[in-house]
């Protein structure tokens, strides 16, 4: 579990066009610079917003990343809900301390 590095990579993708370019052109080399588990790596490569949310990625990082990969707002909300449905509650981080208000 290396939530810190998942968030760090997404943070840098969100704000830095050069990191985005490396993500497109030399992805393996870029990802090797972050201590990611296989599950984390796959979630990032697949743009699996629901799983990233459940892993505990801060929503403010995730929301920007969702926009970056072209999700519309409703799709973003639906992805998080589907992630919780499929993988269970948020596992770590600040958002794991929030009460689930939808149930």
């Amino acid at each position: 579990m290396s939530l810190y590095y998942v968030q760090k990579l997404l943070y840098q993708l969100n704000r830095d066009p050069l990191v985005r370019k490396r993500f497109e052109t030399s992805r393996d080399e870029l990802l090797a610079e972050y201590a990611l588990t296989g599950e984390e790596r796959a979630a990032i490569v697949d743009g699996d917003i629901g799983l990233l949310y459940v892993m505990g990625v801060n929503g403010q990082i995730l929301m920007h990343y969702s926009a970056l990969i072209g999700q519309q707002w409703d799709e973003y909300i639906a992805s998080m809900r589907a992630g919780v449905e499929k993988h269970g509650p948020v596992r770590a981080g600040l958002y794991s301390m929030l009460k689930d208000r939808s149930r």
């Binding site: 969100n14 704000r15 801060n58 403010q60 990082i61 707002w73 958002y95 301390m97 929030l98 208000r101």
Partner: protein
């Protein structure tokens, strides 16, 4: 001169990015009140605008997270977000590095602020600027209070930061305006986006408008997280404005929950004397 204007407003990205999905009448009333706030700001003929914001991982990350940071550049860029998503075009925003340097120097007498000569604005600053300085012709000094990655600065310190900011502004010859932008209760960027605790918001606003320091600083973060969501941590920006205008009272121009904007939309001013 000194501080000449103080206000607080919301900054949620939906305010611009999802504008068409809100109730039209409510949205237009909200926009009109933001316009009124701009008129009041311009009437004070400010030389610079300090925006106390709660940024969302545009510049600062948990590898080196400042509790307080002040921008010190002659220009800034924003928004970092997709332009269509936010419905605000990317641009350069003027700053004033010399004034920043003097304000930061004064602040350091009281508060150990960080400074940054590079800063990319996210919606937390771009949405207020979209309404307050639509021609982007007023130099901006960004201030960030970490409200996203705990541990966070205590509320009492956020109020003290505001008091220190006031002293720093009053020591400058320029006419300086101040806007705090944040919360209030909201669960942004979660599946509960759109949930708003109106009763909590109205109680908080009553404390803010009365500039009741004891009441404003009495919330614990556990209570805020429970009752106002993780977005509620952004009340620190309001507390900074209250600290900068200690002893004064505020005026509420607008408050209404607008769920598609994911926040109780707020426009308020605080008296400055």
């Amino acid at each position: 001169m000194s501080l000449v204007f103080a206000a607080a407003c919301s900054h949620a990205p939906g305010i611009t990015g999802r504008a068409q999905r809100a109730d039209a009448k409510l949205r237009e009333t909200f926009y009109a009140k933001l316009g009124e706030l701009r008129v009041r700001l311009e009437a004070q003929r400010p030389d610079a605008l300090i925006v106390v914001a709660a940024e969302h991982f545009a510049n600062f990350f948990m590898n080196n997270m400042p509790a307080y940071c002040v921008g010190m550049a002659d220009s800034y860029e924003g928004p970092i977000e997709d332009e269509q998503w936010l419905a605000i075009a990317r641009r350069t925003v003027p700053g004033n590095a010399d004034l920043s340097r003097r304000v930061i120097g004064a602040l350091l007498n009281d508060i150990d602020v960080a400074y940054a000569e590079e800063w990319k604005f996210d919606h937390g600053i771009m949405v207020p600027l979209h309404f307050m300085t639509p021609r982007y012709d007023l130099p901006v000094i960004p201030v960030n209070v970490n409200c996203q990655g705990p541990p966070l600065t205590p509320l009492a310190r956020a109020y003290e930061f505001g008091r220190a900011l006031r002293r720093a502004c009053d020591a400058q010859p320029e006419r300086i305006a101040l806007i705090g932008t944040g919360g209030i209760s909201h669960w942004p960027a979660t599946p509960d986006s759109g949930v708003i605790n109106e009763a909590w918001d109205r109680e908080f606003l009553a404390r803010f408008l009365a500039n009741d320091r004891a009441a404003l600083t009495s919330y614990t973060d556990e209570e805020t997280l429970r009752d106002a969501g993780q977005g509620g941590f952004e009340i620190r920006t309001f507390l900074a404005v209250a600290g900068a205008t200690e002893g004064e009272r505020g005026e509420l121009l607008f408050y209404a929950p607008i769920p598609i904007f994911a926040v109780g939309c707020t426009v308020a001013t605080m008296a400055v004397r």
